[in-house]
């Protein structure tokens, strides 16, 4: 169910043939070269922005997209009740109003949330957006044939657990009320102070019931944003967007929408994307990527080149790559063994394996190192930069392994520099110094994912990572450490099988808070408290380094997504 965001997966191999052929038609010569070279860096309207991606944006239907903060390409077409603040760095991790006049008005215990729509909102056909369309859009996301979204709505809305969507159940969801055309009210099962974050997801996009075409809606969804879908070929492999003339900056303070046209080409190999961006020829000069990082070797080349390095954008997405223990498997039931491994880890060689200090930052906390997550620095088992083998040996002796021990580390064979063999061998080498012999068990990626998320097959010692659905401690700590979220048969993310009453109670208490800053502080404190149990060894937080074409202007990278925001980019 709750997967680390799609955005977190950096490298994906796919075939490129079709996309290249389809793209040829859209790659006309640009007429603004003369204007663009004058050293004028202010953004202007016009031109065509090309997006070169590895993964296609499949199922381009607001009900089916799983996004963090409304996504990047989807957010150009789908407006939501709230959205992420389109600013650089930490300011970009805030939630701001989009279709609604504010980020939501809670009742006293945060179980009822009320939103009012702005005036003058229109679809691409000029018809008005109403609160009933918001309700209908959410109801659609419950239909089994439109699956794909995050599970929060089903978990949170009153009486939604078994709802089958508006096609089967004409009555609709009673948890969502629309007292008038501009007001929508949500009734929740339990207090959820972070509801405004959830309202950024595309399921909160208005869908006009009369225009709903079910599973075919993805081919031409009705736009509420600055662009409308002109072409959607091969399920998101090639998407062309053009201006929606009914969208207005008067009701949208967030999206800038400078280019006249956006051409999204996917299914490209990551090395091809970076090669094309660095060459910046023809239409590629006005190109960006939203899903492909610079790899270590590419970074080595780019940093040696002044012109290229000036075109690299750096971003931080809330994610932690870590070692997880299953305390029901020996010898990891012994906290001293877990602590010994925590002390022995050499984060500098792990970071080098992940691509070096430019692509990864050392992690000693489970929460990402950002304020919005409630980051509270701690280092409970200080390993220094290169590991503390002496302390680890001492702990192993106390644990009853004076001669060291042999363990098996499970990892994926996917080439992702996160849970891949490179990271595993770096851990293996570091633990060797502490007298721990590590055998590696590399699994095919799907097999690996199935094994670690099933309580029956979960290995004792493995590499994994977690990315946030929104930049807060809630979606980071609750799925992993809330004992009531242990899933016996199905996808389980509480890999440490922690079921601690005080932790569960604190999670409930923080969820009641509607002051998000106060909540962040408590998440940070809870993170430190859980850290004492040494159920994970945080290794690093990835950093995104992405090239843009040479004509690209106004690059804005928020800490929410870690990648440049397409809605802010200009090509002139």
């Amino acid at each position: 169910m709750r997967q680390p965001s799609v955005r977190a997966r950096r490298v994906a191999a796919a075939s490129a043939g079709l996309v290249l052929a389809a793209g040829a038609a859209a790659c006309g010569p640009k007429d603004n070269d003369a204007k663009g070279s004058g050293g004028d860096s202010t953004p202007h309207k016009g031109g065509t922005l090309t997006v070169l991606n590895a993964d296609p944006t499949e199922n381009f239907d607001p009900a089916r997209l799983y996004t963090s903060g409304g996504g990047n390409v989807p957010s150009l077409v789908f407006r939501t009740l709230t959205t992420r603040n389109r600013e650089n760095g930490a300011a970009g991790a805030k939630v701001v109003p989009d279709l609604a006049t504010d980020t939501g008005r809670p009742n006293k215990d945060a179980t009822v949330w009320t939103y009012t729509l702005k005036k003058g909102l229109k679809y691409e056909d000029g018809t008005a957006i109403t609160s009933a369309d918001i309700k209908y859009g959410i109801e659609r996301s419950f239909a089994p044939e439109l699956s794909g979204g995050a599970p929060y709505l089903r978990d949170w809305l009153v009486g939604a657990a078994d709802y089958q969507g508006p096609y089967k159940d004409k009555k609709g969801l009673s948890a969502i009320e629309t007292p008038d055309a501009r007001t929508v009210v949500f009734h929740l099962d339990k207090p959820e102070g972070e509801f405004p974050y959830l309202a950024t997801q595309t399921q909160f996009t208005p869908v006009p019931k009369a225009k709903d075409t079910g599973t075919k809606y993805a081919e031409h969804p009705v736009s509420s944003g600055p662009y409308r879908v002109v072409t959607n070929e091969n399920n998101g492999e090639h998407i062309v967007l053009e201006r929606n003339k009914y969208w207005s900056t008067a009701t949208d303070a967030e999206r800038k929408a400078y280019p006249d046209k956006v051409d999204v080409k996917s299914g490209l190999d990551s090395s091809v994307i970076n090669q094309r961006l660095s060459a910046s020829q023809g239409a590629d000069a006005a190109a960006v990527t939203v899903d492909t990082n610079l790899g270590p070797a590419e970074l080595a080349k780019v940093t040696g080149d002044k012109e290229l390095s000036s075109r690299v954008g750096t971003g931080h997405f809330g994610q932690t790559d870590y070692i997880a223990f299953n305390p029901t498997v020996k010898p990891f039931d012994n906290v001293k063994v877990r602590q010994a491994i925590s002390y022995a880890v050499d984060r500098s060689s792990v970071i080098n394996a992940a691509g070096g200090s430019a692509l990864a930052e050392a992690a000693t906390t489970y929460l990402p190192n950002q304020k919005s997550f409630g980051y509270t620095p701690y280092d409970l088992f200080p390993a220094g930069r290169t590991g503390n083998a002496a302390k680890a040996k001492e702990l192993l002796k106390e644990a009853g392994y004076p001669k060291g021990l042999t363990v098996t580390l499970t990892h994926s064979n996917a080439k992702n520099f996160e849970t891949s063999p490179e990271i595993a061998t770096a851990v293996q080498d570091a633990l060797k110094q502490a007298g721990i012999t590590v055998r590696l068990q590399g699994l095919e990626d799907n097999d690996y994912s199935d094994k670690i998320h099933n309580v029956k097959t979960e290995p004792g010692f493995f590499l994994t990572h977690w990315g946030a659905d929104w930049p807060s401690g809630g979606p980071f700590l609750a799925p992993i450490f809330d004992g009531r979220q242990i899933v016996k048969d199905g996808a389980n993310f509480n890999t440490g099988l922690l079921n601690d009453k005080s932790v569960n109670a604190e999670i409930d208490a923080i969820n009641k808070l509607t002051d998000l800053d106060a909540a962040a502080k408590r998440w940070g404190a809870l993170d430190k408290k859980i850290g004492e149990q040494a159920l994970t060894v945080p290794l690093f937080h990835p950093v995104y380094k992405r090239l843009v074409g040479k004509d690209i202007r106004n690059v804005v990278i928020s800490d929410w997504t870690g990648v440049l925001d397409i809605s802010q980019v200009a090509v002139k």
């Binding site: 090395s271 610079l294 790899g295 270590p296 070797a297 590419e298 970074l299 080595a300 080349k301 940093t303 040696g304 050499d346 500098s348 060689s349 970071i351 080098n352 394996a353 691509g355 070096g356 200090s357 430019a358 692509l359 290169t386 064979n413 063999p421 490179e422 595993a424 061998t425 770096a426 293996q428 080498d429 570091a430 060797k432 590696l440 068990q441 590399g442 095919e444």
Partner: protein
């Protein structure tokens, strides 16, 4: 490959079924006249020496193949080795690996062990299986022959890499990997050698001395061992010599695809996989394993070809050992070897077309 097959058959079709002491001497004499083969033999000897002495050599260098040296790579630049030519220094003779800082010389030397050991072991498996199945098919009754020959046909027709990938994927990871890789390469590629052995045995069986042995009441087992096996030596050695480089290439390909030996055990194919993205930033990282693989496969192929020529009576007559002009003989031999080498190098890179091969075997059988 199909040419190797013809060569092996030709070598076996000779009139000297029992190469005794004089046969061996003659073999060396013929091999000695081929300069390319001698150079190749020297290169192979050097490689074997490096592989055997890998722990010694790396100890001399003061390194080992698995220790990380984070301080020798530039972490801020993606982990590119610090220093010129990939960080070559007195401590690291061939530089260090990007990102990890592991010593490249040590990894290459230990990688040679994996490549050579796996290839030799796989060849042994192929030869053993091929000879046993081939001889049994030729000597057994019609049903045994049918069964074993069809089994060999099936093995020959199977796409080798896909079979190997499938087998490697299902075996539990606790099984020692290099042994497994050798066994699997051996098991998926014994068909051709079995077919050669069968055809050769059928020819030998009809010869007078074998008939004489049979009439004296020798058991089939004794005939096979004492009379047939020596006659099979020439084609089997020839084919085996050409299988070794092919097996090295297969091992490298499997490692390249991530199913060969496991990290941190170094192997050339595995080094190629992680090096292929570094071709611009740290070219020596890609060139070293690629060069090592190229030289090894080339040297073994040239040597295998020399062995073939030395064992082939027709080629031997062209060499005119000890009779005609030496210079003329050399020129003929070199020309022959060079043209063969070119075709071999191309063949060893491409997965051989088994279908063509099996067709050729069949037509050969018809002719014989």
């Amino acid at each position: 490959m199909s040419e190797a097959l013809v060569a092996a058959e030709a070598a076996g079709a000779g009139v000297e079924p029992v190469p005794g002491a004089s046969g061996a001497r003659q073999f060396w004499r013929r091999l000695r006249t081929q300069r390319a083969a001698l150079v190749a033999a020297a290169v192979v000897a050097l490689l074997v020496l490096v592989a055997l002495a890998a722990p010694l050599l790396t100890a001399l260098e003061g390194q080992d193949p698995t220790t990380y040296h984070p301080s020798l790579v530039d972490s801020a630049r993606g982990g590119v080795p610090i220093g010129s030519f990939g960080g070559i220094s007195g401590d690291h003779w061939l530089g260090v690996e990007p990102q990890t800082g592991r010593d490249l010389f040590a990894r290459l030397a230990y990688g040679a062990r994996v490549s050579l050991a796996v290839a030799l072991a796989a060849t042994t498996v192929q030869v053993l299986l091929g000879v046993v199945v081939g001889v049994a098919a030729a000597l057994g009754n019609r049903w045994v022959d049918q069964l074993l020959s069809r089994a060999a046909d099936i093995i020959v027709a199977m796409p080798l890499m896909i079979m190997a990938l499938a087998l490697l994927a299902i075996v539990p990871s606790s099984f020692p990997r290099p042994v497994l890789v050798a066994l699997i390469i051996g098991f998926v590629a014994w068909g051709t050698i079995a077919k050669i052995v069968r055809a050769q045995t059928l020819t030998l069986k009809e010869l007078d001395y074998v008939a004489a042995a049979r009439l004296s009441g020798w058991s089939t087992w004794r005939i096979a061992r004492r009379e047939l096996l020596p006659g099979l030596a020439a084609p089997v050695i020839t084919y085996a010599a050409l299988m070794v480089p092919a097996n090295i290439a297969i091992e490298a390909a499997l490692s390249f695809l991530g199913v060969g030996v496991k990290p941190p055990t170094p192997s050339w194919g595995q080094m190629l996989t992680s090096a292929n993205v570094w071709y611009q930033a740290a070219p020596q990282y890609l060139l070293l394993p690629a060069g090592a693989l190229f030289v090894t496969v080339l040297a073994l192929t040239v040597l295998g070809d020399g062995v073939r020529t030395a064992l082939d009576p027709r080629a031997a007559s062209r060499l005119r050992v000890g009779t005609g002009s030496k210079r003329e003989a050399k020129a003929a031999a070199e020309k022959d070897v060079q043209s063969d080498v070119q075709s071999k190098v191309v063949q060893s890179k491409v997965v051989p077309s088994k279908v063509v091969q099996s067709k050729e075997v069949q037509s050969k059988e018809v002719q014989s």
